[in-house]
Symmetry: C2
Subunit: 354 residues, 2 copies
């Protein structure tokens, strides 16, 4: 159904090597979860960035709470092609410093900076450098003047509009907005409302969504409602879990709605008392590899050689086995038998033939 989604028209905002809005593919982003300041060398962070990039992360945000973090992020940004985002609160000097580096976007709310001359200094420099901004409104930290509004979604939209007016006065256009709440209905309502009267691209997500499973459920419910209505230009799933799982969750939502394709579609049996093949173990081993494959194939990982190939006969490639042997099947027909030691190798070999 969602394949026919007509997306809301938004302005195109260049963010490093990608665009957000204006019909660009809906991008997937996550956030670095450790402080930068205690990092002695950028090498470790860069290894983490490569890993995220390999699984399909398209935009990565870092908290920049101090000048040391700004310097280090600048250094890292000079050495990667992945668009990096600096997340800054209140202190416009941190943003000014970030603008000296190839940082792709800065998340900062002009309303929090204070004096208008400081806002203007920041916005002029961002315009000179061609750097995008994101304004992020969160239901939990609305300006005092709006806290009496009974409808939280309406208050969020007003907060966003106040921020927008500060930037519009300065004729600054490359801005992405986000309006996040910790519950599904408020998040959906705020974004739907905002998108009806503004052409800013939307970064969508539920904030503080919770632990892995609950947070994935909540994010799927909210984001799918927005996405099937054509709302949303970039996605962040916020989990109290790893950035990798945030990326996989966001990709999975977009893929199942037919809006993007990231790697193969995986069919895997939940295992039961009949299972003789270690589905979960095989999945874990093969998953990092699957995520690097940019092919439109369906892969099945099944628990038993009796029903496995039959149940998964619409899969392009599948695997199942007993404890020491595996069978590899194509469209439901067994094509190879291997020892367990060679299972992954053989499976990847067949996958590469596609």
């Amino acid at each position: 159904m969602a394949k026919m989604v007509e997306r809301m028209q938004t302005r195109s905002v260049p963010v490093g090597r990608i665009h957000i809005g204006g019909g660009a593919p809906i991008s997937v982003q996550t956030m670095w979860k450790h402080p930068l300041a205690p990092v002695r060398s950028a090498d470790l962070v860069e290894a983490g960035i490569r890993k995220l990039e390999e699984i399909g992360c398209e935009l990565l945000r870092f908290s920049v709470p101090d000048m040391r973090s700004a310097e280090l992020l600048g250094e890292i940004a000079s050495r990667t092609r992945l668009p990096l985002v600096a997340d800054i609160h209140f202190d416009h000097r941190l943003a000014l410093r970030c603008l000296d580096f190839p940082i792709a976007k800065i998340r900062i709310n002009p309303g929090n900076i204070g004096r208008p001359d400081k806002v203007e200094e920041l916005v002029r420099k961002a315009a000179d450098r061609g750097t995008a901004l994101r304004v992020g409104v969160n239901a939990g930290s609305l300006p005092k003047t709006l806290r009496r509004e009974r409808n939280v979604a309406v208050a969020m939209v007003r907060a966003a509009e106040e921020e927008a007016s500060l930037l519009e006065k300065l004729h600054f256009r490359p801005v992405v907005f986000s309006l996040k709440a910790a519950d599904v209905d408020t998040t959906v309502e705020a974004n739907m409302l905002f998108s009806q009267t503004h052409d800013y691209p939307l970064h969508i997500g539920v904030t503080e969504a919770g632990p892995l499973v609950q947070g994935t459920v909540k994010s799927t419910l909210a984001l799918s409602r927005l996405l099937i209505s054509g709302v949303g230009d970039t996605v962040r799933v916020s989990l109290s879990d790893s950035p990798e799982n945030e990326v996989v969750a966001a990709q999975s939502i977009l893929q199942n709605l037919g809006l993007r394709r990231f790697g193969p579609e995986v069919i895997s049996c939940p295992t039961c008392g009949r299972t003789v093949f270690d589905v979960t173990g095989f999945l874990e081993k093969v998953q990092p590899f699957l995520l690097r494959i940019d092919k439109s194939v369906t892969v099945a990982i099944m628990g038993c050689p009796v029903n496995g190939p039959g149940e998964a006969k619409r899969a392009d490639l599948g695997v199942t086995g007993s404890e020491d042997r595996v069978v590899i099947f194509k469209k439901g027909k067994i094509i190879r038998r291997e020892s367990a030691d060679h299972a992954i190798e053989a499976f990847i070999e067949e996958l590469e033939k596609f």
Copy 2:
């Protein structure tokens, strides 16, 4: 929105101490993932059952591929109040043996049993014993006669109707149906179609949904579409992961749609470079406890004491801290400061005050 869902009217099927259909609360179920046959004593299985029951699992299914498993399951069923389901393929003798024990439901497809006298023998005994049946149609194992039908959802409904007619001829009424496919659209379409013309309660789920994150996304998309249309009387989320996570995912879907309430609503921050409190670690330690609390409260677990209480001010109870100290807050106001050693204890103490 979903709080106003009008559920499809279905017949009420008694399954052990619960009912499925007829307006009963939508129950959560999962499946035991290990073979029973090699189990020497029922004790270990019973410990696992207790754990699942504690987190709110309401129905538990076991594969019964041989007579040894049937005997052992019977023994276990005699010693637990949790309704247990025997999953049987082809061999009606296994089902007959299970009917000698207090097993709450048998999943078996009459069409697979073969001779009509065998079907009749099974159905008569189930009727005598007051045991419910579930007929489970899977897109991957449709009868040969239906495989040419282009619309898989339509073929699934026809397969279900063929099974239904076998039971209706014998006037057997306590039957639950399931129609599962590995993709969202087929699963939704088959269940919507079936529910329009039949009053059998529906066990809903996506089969072979995949690994934890992807499978949770796929299941949330399919089940939410059905549930907001009023379709579905019991839920199984099938993941290549633990039964515990299947239960939590199913509960989370129902809770976020306003259809059931299981324990507190958890707000937890995704953590970032500003985080000074181990959100994930605290969550892991406190989660088993949270799941046992049958209270309508919102709990927040936040990463930093500066923004945490403010961001989570709508939470009934929250916690955050630095490495060695925690603060506990109620509705955004700090009410206690404790050493990290006493954090969980103090938190649970406050939770119990509600």
